[in-house]
């Protein structure tokens, strides 16, 4: 079961119209592609997707699941939206409640294990290894962890894992987002449950006020002496929770020796979503200069592109300069514009002689979907430009550091 409903306020204008799992990533993919491809390569092909926030983009992307080979007699990617029950309320009241409301899904398919994932991380994992570990240890719940520096660890669920074996071990203590982190292992919110244990835990939790796996279910299982194990993931793990994290994770795919190569991960996506399938190969013009960048079909590049990721259909005109930036589908960057340390959402147009972002600032600029920035405009670093703005809505020629345009 993939928990794909979250919006995450921190991503601001990028998740106004879509859940985080449907965010474009890496020049081609959507973030949920990583979970779905991992499932496919792990031969796990009975998948429920729990979704509630503006699911349109996610629905269109997952389609009937055939892109991940999840279409067949016993293979499916089924959407499990919130529904009106007899006693229950409509909306999912947390991750555990979302699963609890869909216990019928589990009762119907009678699985040997229930794998619960969040669809918003960038990583490669063979879940069969986690399940094997779970069986070897006769665990009731296995949680996947990665080692993180103590600094900044307060944002995660943290665990102390018994005997530092390479693969993992019993979870001794678990604290959800502690103010002062005391352990090194952060939960990747990947859970393997033995089904009856999941059922017991969810039923016990149903009468409580809070319904989260991290905050409520894991502590309850530990308290009641269930076998909770931690599996240690030592491969790449990319967070995308804030614009900075999203940007950094993206940049991990660039450089002279990228930390990750998509070829090795064999990621599948839905090429019909965003019409990727019908685009011509990228056209690189006489005057183009492209360095250390990723691009895709449908791109037409006549300007300079450095250290950037361009999604299908991006146009960079002659004399334009794009650096350290991520341009989603169909961005048009017109002549003599400079786009620095900026993320533009789908269908953004930047007029002639316009500057967005700055090299010397740490702050990223973010431009919302479908916005058209007029010519001769300067937008300083850290700007938040809302979606669907036309040139008329830009009343000034210059916007200062961190300003919001709406």
């Amino acid at each position: 079961m993939i928990l794909a409903g979250g919006r995450v306020d921190d991503l601001g204008v990028l998740t106004l119209a879509r859940p985080k799992s449907a965010m474009p990533f890496g020049g081609l993919y959507r973030i949920i592609d990583f979970s779905l491809s991992n499932l496919m390569h792990s031969d796990i092909e009975r998948v429920g997707i729990l979704s509630q926030y503006k699911p349109h983009s996610l629905l269109e992307h997952v389609g009937n699941g055939e892109s991940w080979d999840m279409l067949g007699r016993n293979r499916f990617a089924a959407f499990l939206p919130p529904f009106k029950g007899i006693n229950q309320s409509d909306w999912y009241q947390g991750t555990a409640d979302a699963v609890f409301q869909n216990l019928d899904f589990l009762r119907t398919h009678r699985p040997e294990h229930v794998l619960i994932l969040s669809g918003d991380h960038v990583y490669q994992m063979d879940y069969r290894e986690v399940i094997r570990f779970h069986n070897d240890n006769k665990a009731d719940l296995t949680i996947v962890f990665a080692k993180v520096p103590r600094e900044g660890a307060h944002r995660f669920g943290l665990a102390e894992i018994e005997c530092e074996r390479k693969e993992g071990g019993r979870v001794i203590q678990y604290l959800e987002k502690p103010e002062t982190p005391a352990f090194d292992w952060a939960s990747l919110t990947i859970y393997v449950f033995t089904p009856y244990v999941l059922l017991e835990a969810l039923e016990a939790n149903a009468t409580k006020d809070s319904h989260e796996f991290g905050r409520d279910i894991i502590p309850w299982l530990l308290e009641h002496n269930y076998n909770v194990y931690g599996y240690k993931h030592d491969g790449y793990w990319g967070y995308t929770r804030t614009p900075r994290e999203y940007w950094q994770t993206s940049m991990d795919f660039l450089g002279s020796t990228p930390r990750v190569d998509f070829n090795d991960w064999q990621i599948c996506t839905n090429l019909s979503h965003g019409n990727i399938r019908d685009r011509r190969p990228a056209l690189v013009g006489h005057s183009a200069l492209i360095e250390d960048s990723l691009l895709y079909s449908g791109c037409r590049i006549a300007g300079t592109v450095k250290n950037s990721i361009l999604f299908p259909g991006v146009r960079v005109d002659e004399g334009a300069h794009v650096e350290d930036s991520i341009l989603f589908f169909n961005a048009v960057i017109k002549r003599n514009s400079r786009i620095i340390r900026t993320i533009t959402d789908e269908n953004v147009t930047v007029g002639v002689n316009t500057q967005v972002g700055e090299q010397d600032s740490e702050d990223l600029s973010i431009i919302g979907m479908n916005t058209r920035i007029p010519r001769d405009t300067t937008i300083a670093a850290g700007a938040n430009v809302h979606p669907d703005l036309g040139p008329a809505q830009f009343s000034k020629h210059s916007y200062g550091q961190g300003e919001t345009v709406q």
């Binding site: 002279s256 599948c268 090429l271 019908d278 011509r280 190969p281 013009g285 360095e291 990723l294 895709y296």
Partner: protein, 422 residues
């Protein structure tokens, strides 16, 4: 457009494309990075709102069948939409190989008879163009024609390669010349025919003629009801290596009139290949790309200019490719240079080797009529040894490896084949 059955003749050998058609039919030859030649015709069919097509195959049909699949790439699959692949085995005794275009259609008359249609559109999968067939079908109906032939004006010096139509002021064809050395008209047949179904069935059942251009059209002309539908726009018969190369290079020219995305050309990206998507193109720190078409999955560490790269091509550090077509998953290793080459799929070009770099006018000694314009062709899965030097107008056959090279240099105009197993 349910009243029209479509027959796509995809059996052509296309022998002048030489080793590009050694393992595949001409319509299945890769083109323009991600396409195959047949994609243009299949996309025209789908984009014209036509819903049923029979593809007649014959010569090396495997890669073609794999590519067409169930037709869903062109949205030709569904309750009322289909692509049917009809191989030549409809005869009652053994296998009846098609003796010509009309014979191929005759052997599949049942397909036409069983469909609910008044018209039959016959097209071939050999050309690169963008055409709305529904305009031609309307033209046919407005004139109450029995037969309508798509024609295009070609340069006078090329008329001898085509069937040419002499027309009156109403576009009625009054005379027809098939590959005449002294053609009276430069309106050349595009090999696109609209027939009234019953008329076509009658013609094919009452004669034994095997070719449309040579036999059927002259016969139909006797009834004075054959019209020429004039087409103007980009149209290329990519039947020679030079024409094939030039049409690929047209993709680089903004003013060539050739834009597959604008034309809504669709292809099957998954045929016979990967179980995952080609990742984004990676252009590395010191990679240089100019005036080129680059497909997903390419990795560029060296230099690319004036070239068309298919998916998965790797250009290593210090390597240079210019004025070339490089197909799927071929690799130029460090320091290799390649100019004016057509490189088939999965070719490895060894370190420091140099191919087609010197301008030489010696035509190919074995196939002077195929190769005399300075192009060199490397066959599928060939491995060129490190530091080899290969001239212009050369052919390196498929699957040739370093063990097949006697010396590291191949003179312009020479070929190299896989040595026979002893």
């Amino acid at each position: 457009m349910t009243g029209t059955a479509v027959i796509l003749l995809a059996g052509g050998v296309g022998s002048r494309l030489n080793i590009l058609v050694a393992h595949r039919a001409k319509p299945a030859v890769p083109f323009g990075g991600i396409y195959r030649i047949i994609d243009f015709t299949l996309s025209n069919i789908a984009n014209s709102g036509l819903t049923g097509v029979a593809v007649l195959t014959q010569y090396r049909p495997l890669s073609l069948m794999d590519h067409i699949g169930n037709g869903s790439s062109w949205d030709l699959s569904g309750r009322f939409r289909s692509v049917k692949i009809l191989p030549p085995k409809t005869g009652e005794e053994e296998w009846d190989w098609y003796k010509g275009t009309a014979d191929a259609v005759r052997q599949n008359l049942q397909y036409i008879m069983t469909r609910d249609c008044q018209h039959v559109l016959i097209v071939s999968g050999d050309h690169v163009y963008h055409m709305n067939y529904s305009s031609m079908l309307s033209f046919h109906q407005e004139r109450s024609a029995r037969v309508t032939i798509g024609v295009i004006r070609v340069p006078w010096e090329e008329t001898h390669q085509f069937g040419t139509a002499i027309v009156d002021e109403n576009s009625r064809i009054t005379d027809w010349e098939e590959k005449s050395p002294k053609a009276r008209s430069n309106l050349a047949s595009m090999g696109i025919y609209v027939f009234d179904r019953d008329y076509l069935v009658d013609l094919l059942e009452t004669t034994k003629d095997v070719d449309f251009g040579h036999h059927i059209i002259p016969k139909a002309l006797e009834e004075h009801n054959v019209f020429a539908y004039p087409f103007s726009g980009y149209w290329r018969d990519v039947g020679t290596l030079q024409a094939y190369w030039e049409a690929n290079m047209d993709l680089l020219k903004a003013d060539s009139g050739f834009d597959p995305e604008l034309w809504k050309v669709k292809t099957n990206l998954n045929a016979g290949g990967l179980s995952f998507e080609r990742p984004p193109i990676r252009i590395a720190q010191n990679g240089r790309v100019s005036n080129s078409v680059v497909s997903p999955g390419c990795k560029i560490f060296g230099e690319v200019e004036n070239s068309v790269l298919s998916p998965g091509v790797v250009i290593e550090k210090g390597a240079l490719v210019s004025d070339s077509i490089v197909m799927h998953d071929s690799i130029l290793q460090e320091g290799a240079s390649v100019k004016r080459c057509i490189v088939d799929k999965q070719v490895t070009i060894g370190r420091g080797s140099s191919i087609g770099m010197e301008a030489n006018t010696q035509p190919n000694r074995q196939f002077p009529e195929h190769l005399s314009t300075g192009l060199t062709v490397l066959g599928k899965e060939t491995r060129i040894p490190d530091f080899a030097i290969i001239g212009a107008n050369c052919i390196v056959y498929s699957k040739v490896g370093p063990e097949d090279f006697h010396t590291l240099s191949l003179e312009s105009g020479d070929n190299i084949q896989k040595r026979e197993e002893p």
